[in-house]
Amino acid sequence: MSALIQTTDLQRTFTVSAGLFKAKKILHAVNGVDLCVNRSDVLGVVGESGCGKSTLARMLLGLTPPTRGSVQIDGQDISKIDRRELARRVQPIFQDPYSSLNPRRTIASIVSFPLDVLNIGTSVERKKKSLEMLERVGLPARYAKNTPGQLSGGQRQRVAIARALVINPEIVICDEPTSALDVSVQAQILNLLLDLRKEFNLTYVFISHNLAVVEHIATQVAVMYLGRVVELRQTAELFKDPRHPYTQALLASVLTPEPGLGIPDTGLGLSFPDPLHPPSGCAFHPRCARRTPECSTKHPALRRDAQGEVACHLYPSTR
């Protein structure tokens, strides 16, 4: 089966001004990411803030062009796909439903907007279709004339989902879709996303820093550190038996609601490194409990095997 989403050596750099008389610096937000997502899979992307998760999402959406490498959808390079055509196939759901919806428009017009832009159907059909979609995401039609300001956070996120799905996309890029929501609302939105995936045969890229949520929704997980994927695996295996020391530390720091276990010692150092001055060799080595002298000098090659991918000197590349 060929992959629906394929990224090849995807890279994005930003030029950052360091000061008036200092040379500009290059920030590698995403640094050589190869990903492959099959149709109706859910790829979870996890990592700490600043690891490049959101830049990756924007590149998959075609909102930020890559500096190097490419994103292909169904074998087609997205830089060569017409923007409208791309939007019809790939849609976003963002973190903050307070800022991702136009506060001056009604819910009905927000949801039907993609149909208007793409000029799909007559205005009556568009209206009917958007009301159906609102109904489907659990928002009664009586809200159609309201503005986002009159809705709660969970309801707004439902509007964002309806807007993303109204044009029947194949891929939905969810960037922290439940992070701004309360737990009871988060559960409703996760249930909805899982139902919709089945119903419309959707493929999700699901970005989150909440590992419990990713474990629940994703079929495979990519762990990112300083712009690179350090481990990629099927979800159940990753959570059962993480290989990369960073994945291990990340999983160990999740506070599951189990009383009596206390607070884990992550063994990680004080803070995430400065992406402007990434450490030499393996970027994770200053925080790694299992580092060897090799780690500070040599960048670990990616090992691909039956279990997935891992980039760490503990798992030498087979090539």
Binding site: A187, N191, S253, V254, I263
Partner: protein, 331 residues
């Protein structure tokens, strides 16, 4: 130092907070009672708008001007602070009772160095010299795990990462050796790895120094790992309270049960399966709520729920407000 773990540091009974708004009076906190003992961690958990942050601010006397606070009892170490004058409150606040805020970036002043902000209240409260305060600040920064502490004193908040800023906040709260520490979502804005470090640090320091801690959070994972006791808030009321292990093993109030069923728990929930949900929305806090505030969203609601709701309790101190009696819950 021996710690008398039965000494009640904070004793609040019948606390209500009302806030005047153009739309009417919001009854944000409705008759809650809390006690925290020395060396104990009480977590107040609830969803946005349940009144948990206002409760924490009211304990510190930091409510907005539009808010009014009433209580039957409001004692800090046996002293009635509800009726204490402003001077006395200023003596206690930042000194014997301290607070850690959620957003270290907004809670720290960007125009002053870390050193200035760490030493200011210490010098004021303890009448210490600049040098004494500096020594104390360095010692505390080291205690919260900040390397090259002496150099950090000259830095500004923007030069520190989020995790470091939160450590500075903790050090600042501990400067005067408080007996009560109130932490409002101290780790919410941080990455999971940093969150674990910060909470571990807080728990260690609190145990070592025998501080009574009230921790406000919406994260049940945090609650399970750090709290001795839990108070679950809903619509300005505490609907259930008890020892952490009891609350998680056998939650009695339908809201607590719903809240726990909502979160994906490895090994307990099936990946990709249905998570529990709580239908409906939180009631408006304007005006009186008749009977149980949760009745409109509760699957076990009955006619009796609109009447007086009894406060039920088990022999080992778990309390809940519900018409339902104790039920064995399969974990």
């Amino acid at each position: 130092m021996t710690i008398d773990s039965n000494e009640i540091v904070l004793d609040v009974q019948g606390l209500t907070v009302d806030i005047k708004t153009p739309r009417g009076v919001l009854h944000v906190v409705r008759d809650i009672s809390l006690q925290v003992k020395r060396g104990e961690t009480l977590c107040i958990v609830g969803e946005s708008g349940c009144g948990k942050s206002i409760t924490s601010l009211s304990m510190m006397g930091l409510l907005p001007k539009t808010a009014t606070r009433n209580s039957r009892v409001f004692n800090f170490l046996g002293e009635d602070i509800a009726r204490a004058d402003k001077r006395r409150i200023n003596d206690l606040r930042g000194n014997r009772m301290a607070m850690i805020f959620q957003e270290p970036m907004t809670a720290l002043n960007p125009a002053y160095t870390i050193g200035d902000q760490l030493t200011e209240h210490y010098r004021h409260h303890k009448h210490a010299s600049a040098e004494q305060a500096r020594v104390r600040a360095v010692a505390l920064l080291e205690k919260v795990g900040i390397a090259s502490a002496a150099e950090r004193l000259g830095q500004y908040p923007h030069q520190l990462s989020g995790g470091l800023r939160q450590r500075v906040m903790i050090a600042m709260a501990l400067m005067c050796g408080p007996e009560l520490l109130i932490a409002d979502e101290p780790s919410t804005a941080l990455d999971v790895t940093i969150q674990a470090q910060i909470l571990r640090l807080l728990a260690d320091l609190q145990a070592e120094l025998g501080i009574a801690m009230v921790l406000i959070t919406h994260d049940l994972g945090v609650v399970a790992r750090i709290a001795n006791r839990v108070a679950v808030m809903y619509a300005g009321q505490i609907v259930e309270e008890g020892l952490t292990k009891d609350i998680f093993a056998a939650p009695q109030h339908p809201y607590t049960q719903g809240l726990i069923s909502c979160i994906p728990i490895p090994g307990r929930t099936i990946p990709g399966g249905k998570l529990g949900t709580i239908p409906g929305v939180v009631p408006s806090l304007i005006g009186e709520i008749k009977g149980c505030a949760f009745k409109d969203r509760c699957s076990s609601a009955q006619e009796r729920c609109s009447g007086d709701i009894p406060l039920r309790h088990t022999a080992h101190g778990q309390q809940w407000r519900c018409i339902l009696e104790h039920q064995e819950v399969a974990a």
